[in-house]
Symmetry: C2
Subunit: 448 residues, 2 copies
């Protein structure tokens, strides 16, 4: 016999038990179905790419985290996001694609970060992007939040808010206040407000030489809490002073107008001028999504508008707007906080338990259930009745079909509701009707 190696999974790599995997997959299916229903094509790019191509833009922290290695003459890297592969794909297949090109991709990405609770080295991202050829209408930026809304409420996550800002508005404001050269530093500092508080933000802004009156103007504006109408009214005073600001102001007005038309109720989105999302990539609308009761989770779905998807791979101008859900991290948070709706953990609806050595009738009965659209498993092992029932209980299968000699002789089955304990002996047709009558109480996958 071979030596035994203790089986283990690498730390930072999520590997779920079967019952959790069922729920994870159902959540993933909701995303896929929703994305498709809005006209996004699925996309599947390789996990391995030529390092020269994948790292065209990367640098600093990202590059250190890459899983990069040589095989033969090839310098290979595992993808660290789904955006760079999309840029490569669109540039490569430009002439074969129809623009606006809408695609979704749900796939694993890799970052060799320091291991830490709740941080993953292999994790799923679920991205959607709409890519235009030379231009892309701003109304697309209003459709994206409606997709997030459909997905989150479809999963059962009800208590969230999509925060929306516009980088042109911010850049215009900094220009008007004569702060454009320090804009990057200011945004970085303001971004820390939830962690360090307003007082410390003021102090840090003073440290980099922002005068007190400008700090006050800026913070009063960016941290203002009010309705979208009030925020827009606050911004009105800056109109006509800077072209970028005016453009951004018009964009955010249009986006806010149409989000409601797309069906997102007012409680679920708000302008938040304090969010900025990174510095070089986004050029217009930006989004972050927070669970209201749990701001500590951070943004669970973020994205925005960019001018140039693929500048490293093509001279064509390919503007786009998109958003990404960190699916593995979201699932981890839902698990840890016991938010998963465990009624979805069954692989099948019916378990057929033959009580005779010959299993011919049991197989035939299972076939009839499956033909009626009911997922059905047969327990094929020999053993005591108790052991067979225990299998159904352990897997939380809602119904068991018992087939003893009496049932077979009478051309009937006994169907048992495993939750209530009720059982009846009846024809297969009527047993199928019993299963079908028990509609799912809820189709939501998350309780929050």
């Amino acid at each position: 016999m071979a030596d035994i190696i203790t089986p283990r999974t690498l730390s930072g790599f999520m590997e779920l038990l079967p019952k959790d995997q069922v729920i994870f997959d159902k959540i993933r299916a909701v995303l896929e179905k929703t994305y498709s229903s809005y006209g996004f094509f699925p996309l599947d790019t390789p996990i391995l790419e030529d390092s020269k191509i994948l790292l065209a833009k990367a640098g600093g922290e990202t590059e250190k985290q890459i899983y990069r290695f040589n095989k033969g003459d090839s310098d290979l890297s595992m993808r660290f996001d789904l955006t760079v592969p999309l840029a490569k794909y669109v540039a490569k297949n430009y002439s074969e694609l129809t623009f606006p090109f809408k695609r979704y991709q749900i796939g694993k990405v890799y970052r060799g970060e320091r291991a830490q609770k709740g941080r993953f080295r292999e994790f799923y991202q679920a991205d959607i992007d709409i890519i235009g050829d030379e231009k892309l209408n701003i109304v697309n930026d209003a459709e994206i939040p409606s997709i997030i809304y459909t997905i989150f409420t479809g999963l059962g996550i009800e208590d969230f808010v999509i925060r929306i800002n516009n980088r042109k508005v911010l850049n215009g404001l900094y220009a008007i206040l004569g702060l454009e050269e320090k804009a990057a530093d200011i945004m970085r500092i303001i971004d820390k407000i939830d962690k360090i508080g307003r007082e410390n933000v003021v102090a840090e802004l003073a440290e980099i030489g922002i005068t007190e009156d400008k700090v006050t103007t800026l913070l009063d504006l960016l941290l203002f809490k009010g309705s979208n109408e009030e925020v827009l009214a606050n911004l009105e005073q800056f109109k006509g002073k800077n072209e970028t600001f005016d453009l951004g102001f018009e964009e955010i007005q249009t986006v806010i107008k149409y989000i409601g038309v797309f069906g997102v109720p007012g409680d679920y989105y708000m302008i938040d001028l304090s969010i900025a999302r990174g510095l070089d990539y986004y050029t217009g609308t930006v989004y972050e999504t927070f669970i209201r009761k749990h701001p500590e989770y951070g943004s669970v779905c973020s994205g925005g508008r960019y001018d140039n998807l693929a500048e490293y791979y093509t001279k064509k101008s390919l503007p786009g707007v998109g958003i990404s859900i960190g699916l593995t991290r979201l699932f981890y948070v839902l698990c840890e906080n016991d938010f998963l709706n465990r009624s979805h953990e069954n692989p099948v609806d019916v378990l057929v338990l033959p009580m005779t050595e010959d299993v011919t009738v049991a197989i035939d009965v299972a076939k009839q259930f499956r033909l009626a659209g009911i997922s059905t498993q047969i327990y094929l092992e020999q053993g005591k009745f108790k052991k067979k029932m225990a299998y159904g209980n352990k897997l939380s299968i809602p119904f068991c079909v018992l087939l003893g000699e009496d049932e077979i002789a009478a051309n009937k089955v006994t169907i048992k509701n495993m939750e209530t304990g009720e059982q009846v002996t009846d024809t297969v047709e009527n047993a199928i009707a019993v299963v079908k009558a028990k509609a799912e109480v809820t189709s939501k996958f998350v309780n929050m």
Copy 2:
């Protein structure tokens, strides 16, 4: 502006255009749905594993093909199949699992083979396995072909045959003929018969010292073409001479008896004593699946019964039976031979084309279609009517909804069937009915 790097995808890595990806994903969905409906749990294991664990068993050719590298102190490898990760998973989570444990996994695996047309370095495998604790009833071996049958016919692949053999029958026969020491060589030679022909097989068998009469006995038996009943009748003469043979004979009889009960028509399976499938791993039933008109594709779905899934990771005896579809290769073959049913390449059923600058009504109409369960995209770009229609045509979207000022004023829409050119102006409700009335002609994804 940055330097342009020519975008490319590594050779041996499949990256599909959107329309093909839609079909690939629908095929994958049929597999997932079928596997689930038989009670298999989904499983998703990491693509990266500790090399010591992943390569516990590997050696020779396999080990050379592994993508293996160091990151920090870790020696990592990308998985080359889904069986080793399953073995690790079951050994690691033994106490949390309920046996028989039925799981499916559809995932990418990696083999750094020499690049060659139709050979992939990154490819999907779609595996199912049923794992028992200490023992597993032989009837499970008969359920597996019924799942293959459901999937292949569900996809539209009608002209295939599942060939079934049993390693105990073979080993018993070799023992009875006094050839057990040369069994491995004999099986390897006979396995080449499709490539080199009977004459060369006879010659090679003579070369390794098999006497002519034994060659004749063996080949007459193993290459015999006849009904399952005839093959079994041929084998009857060896009963009672060897324990392993007797056990295998009983197993294959049981499997053949129950495959029909599970609903597989007689044309779709046959005993073929010439198939063996590798040498150490399988210990009982083995399967191969061939497309009748295209034996050159080789087996598109193979597997079998094994005694010990996880002997490198646990002392527990975990017998199982399983099968694997090489999904990427299968898809490649279907593409190359123009077998894909292209009516499945649309992302949505309806494209809404607003003809006014304000798109409020268009968004509202799209919402109503989507609420009725119809996938619907809105074309949000400004532009000429012709350009808008061209978008729908290029994406082969079946219906366009036109919304000009007249329609909006009359509270109606114009719906156009893009295939027939027919169009009517009517209420949204009636337009939805038009789309719903046009049922898919076929739900099959493959024409063969």
